[in-house]
Symmetry: C2
Subunit: 143 residues, 2 copies
């Protein structure tokens, strides 16, 4: 899985004439090794611990490349930061976000997707993608 995404990115890079660099490899490994929904800043800080030389701009640019290549996806939860999550071909999921502790749970629901398509069709829309986020308290924070 991890190797597969690595390969997808490398192929994308090759096709675009991009070079393989030490920094990109480090960031790619780091990104693929965590399955949290990291913001650029979080990934940057995490990277700095092992690799002090890497700059914020590089992390930012590289994450963007990941998104373009299809192995990552940008997400916004309204906290003002851009986060990146792993993304696989044709896969999609939505989020449950705990507004107290920030916990994020992913879920998929075909029935909802189907209803969405029906609604869109009713208005003549052709849906390209959607965003569904449920905000509230997770089991732990409800206590």
């Amino acid at each position: 899985m991890k190797q597969e995404k690595k390969k997808i990115f490398q192929e994308y890079a090759a096709a675009r004439g991009l070079k393989s660099t030490r920094q990109r490899d480090i960031i790619l490994d780091s990104f693929l090794s965590t399955d949290r929904h990291l913001s650029i800043e979080e990934l940057y800080l995490q990277l700095r611990e092992k690799h002090p030389g890497i700059g914020y701009a590089t992390v930012y640019r590289t994450l963007k490349l990941f998104a373009e290549s299809g192995i990552a996806r940008e997400i916004h939860f309204g906290d003002g930061q851009t986060r990146y999550e792993h993304q696989a071909e044709g896969e999609h999921h939505d989020h449950l976000v705990c507004t107290r502790c920030g916990a994020i749970v992913e879920f998929e629901n075909e029935a909802i997707e189907k209803l969405q398509d029906e609604i869109a069709a009713g208005y003549g829309f052709l849906i390209k993608n959607h965003k569904l986020e449920l905000y509230g308290l997770c089991a732990k924070c409800r206590k």
Copy 2:
């Protein structure tokens, strides 16, 4: 409807010890007179035409007050701008957004809301609110 929201805001202002000012009245009227999903900037520019003296900061602060009072709601469509839409007590709707022309259609769907609650319950979450946005091409842009 418009008068009702005006009243709600005035009561909210009174309860908070806020003063009634010329600027706030103008912004309130302007906001209530349009039913588009205006960004702060759009409302500001629209206002400036009739009332050149009003500053951006005032529009920004006033819109925030509207949201606090419950007559408006902030929305984010990922274009980097904060928009405000009218909001009525206990009412909720979601959006269809055309990614080409920016058209926005509002819709409500109880079946989806119900499914959302079920999903949340399954993860032990207590949902406070949610956001559902469908992005694609509107009937006109599909041609």
